[in-house]
């Protein structure tokens, strides 16, 4: 959840909340020049540069400074949503922060596109075919590799404290404890891949969330259902879509480990299957066999097989709920309860997996599911003497 005051939350819940939108570029407030506010989108595991485009009026040629001084393209743009309280205080949440990625001047309109911190990680490569970057000399904890990718190769700050301006240290530190406790180790041999691509592989193989929040890269692996950050119901939602897609079922998982860069083969493949799901939905397999980053041993690989199987062995409902801004402070990763009488969903727990805030019309779209909610109850059975484990 965005860090906001209780006053912000109670004001946001009002039917006539006095929302304000703010756009600053290079420290100057250009809010009054915005013709069209952007949609700001974030997804728990979409590790690629996020962009927003803001249309600004340029009838008086105010933005011609981009032409006369192109270095202004490195200016920082910040898009915020919040309130000017009557007492004079201001409280905004920063929905997007980034540097100018592109400027398009056409007649009286200046379109400014901002790109977030993932842009820097997408612009840089790790290793190449002649000189691969080699992390095979030792077995590295998952977070160590992610840290090296972001800092040594990506140029993000390596300060190991909450004063790190690029990496959300609190979340990263919590994330490290998962891999340290379970001793999950990986190796990597990278031959010219973007840092975002390598982070994406780590996210995929460890089922971790890597998102940008408050202009910092935030790491996490969702575990137990936290206290609900919000109770979303028909009083806040004006449109809902529920999708159950059989193609997302996975009931047998293979994770290959201990890759040999010499023989170019994996010495280990850990396999787990759920027989009940296979009986019900037929065999649906997934394999994780990456030769640029891999688990070093079967114990490290086992966690992924178990987690993926638990999450995807049964079909699940993915809810897309369009709401007012009353839950604007709720964000990706938060647990919420959802109620919808039409679908007979009564205060069921879900996790926010993606969000889109439409700053132009003042609406927010949540994508909710319970795949990353470990305490979600699902009706399941286990056979005596069976190998499957009820979770």
């Amino acid at each position: 959840m965005y860090s906001v005051s209780s006053g912000f939350i109670s004001t946001a819940a009002q039917a006539n909340a006095p929302w304000k939108r703010k756009f600053t570029l290079g420290g100057s407030d250009y809010s009054a020049r915005v013709q069209k506010w952007p949609k700001v989108q974030r997804t728990w595991n979409a590790i690629k540069p996020g962009t927003v485009t803001i249309d600004l009026t340029n009838d008086d040629r105010a933005f011609n400074f981009f032409v006369s001084a192109p270095t202004n393209i490195k200016a920082t743009g910040i898009v915020q949503l919040g309130f000017d309280y009557a007492v004079g205080s201001t409280e905004y949440i920063t929905l997007f922060q980034g540097t100018v990625d592109a400027v398009q001047l056409r007649e009286g309109v200046c379109k400014v596109t901002l790109a977030d911190k993932f842009k820097q990680l997408a612009d840089r490569l790790i290793g190449d075919q002649t000189t691969p970057t080699n992390y095979t000399g030792s077995s590295y904890l998952v977070h160590d590799l992610a840290w090296y990718f972001c800092t040594s190769h990506g140029g993000l700050s390596a300060i190991q404290s909450t004063s790190n301006p690029d990496i959300d240290w609190t979340s990263f530190n919590s994330w490290t404890s998962i891999w340290s406790t379970d001793n999950v180790r990986m190796k990597a041999l990278v031959k010219g891949k973007k840092i975002t691509e390598m982070l994406s592989r780590i996210s995929d193989m460890t089922q971790s969330a890597i998102v940008i929040e408050n202009n910092k890269v935030k790491f996490g692996r969702y575990s137990i259902a936290d206290s609900p950050a919000f109770s979303l119901n028909e009083a806040h939602v004006f449109d809902t879509q529920l999708v159950i897609d059989e193609r997302e079922i996975i009931n047998r998982v293979r994770v290959s480990a201990d890759y040999s860069t010499t023989s170019r083969s994996f010495a280990i493949t850990v396999t787990q299957a759920d027989s009940t799901s296979i009986d019900s939905y037929s065999l649906k397999e997934e394999i994780y066999d990456d030769d640029s980053i891999w688990f070093t041993d079967s114990v490290s690989a086992l966690g992924t097989t178990q987690r993926v199987l638990t999450q995807y062995k049964n079909p699940y409902g993915r809810i897309t709920a369009m709401s007012a801004l009353s839950a604007a402070q709720t964000t990706v990763g938060d647990t919420i309860t959802y109620t919808d009488s039409f679908y007979a969903i009564d205060q069921q727990s879900y996790r926010v997996m993606a969000e889109v805030i439409n700053m132009d019309d003042g609406s927010k779209t949540f994508e909710l599911d319970d795949t990353q909610l470990q305490s979600a109850f699902r009706l399941d059975i286990s056979l005596l003497d069976g190998t499957d484990v009820l979770t």
């Binding site: 039917a15 006539n16 009838d59 004006f238 449109d239 019309d361 003042g362």
Partner: protein
């Protein structure tokens, strides 16, 4: 009487059929429960009136219109403050003489605040 200022020039114009057409910049969302959330982002002041003016006034207004000059308009009695605005006519505000008179121009001025 309506006063319009820009670039240290003040014009006094006697409006005919003066009308305000302010518009809220807002979004209304109707929830499934029937509840409504209405967000007002701003207010756009609008005014429109006819007028007959002399050649000098007509030329100044038309020049302001042609360069998109921000102007400050206010009713002289202070009751209908329009504020800072643009002259938003699609065509020049004063483009024709009053019928039977070649010294007074007649036309309409449309103002929009920002």
């Amino acid at each position: 009487m309506l006063s319009i200022w820009a670039n240290s020039t003040c014009l006094s114009i006697d409006p005919i059929n003066y009308a305000r057409g302010d518009e809220l910049i807002q979004n209304l969302h109707r929830m499934k429960s029937g509840a409504a959330f209405r967000y007002v982002w701003g207010k756009q002041a609008r005014a429109k009136f006819n007028a007959m003016v002399d050649s000098s006034t007509a030329a100044i207004v038309n020049s302001w219109w042609s360069i998109n000059q921000p102007v400050y308009a206010v009713q002289s009695d202070g009751t209908a403050d329009v504020g800072t605005c643009y002259i938003t006519n699609k065509q020049a505000p004063f483009a024709s003489f009053r019928s039977g008179n070649n010294t007074l121009w007649m036309g309409a001025i449309e103002l929009e605040g920002f």
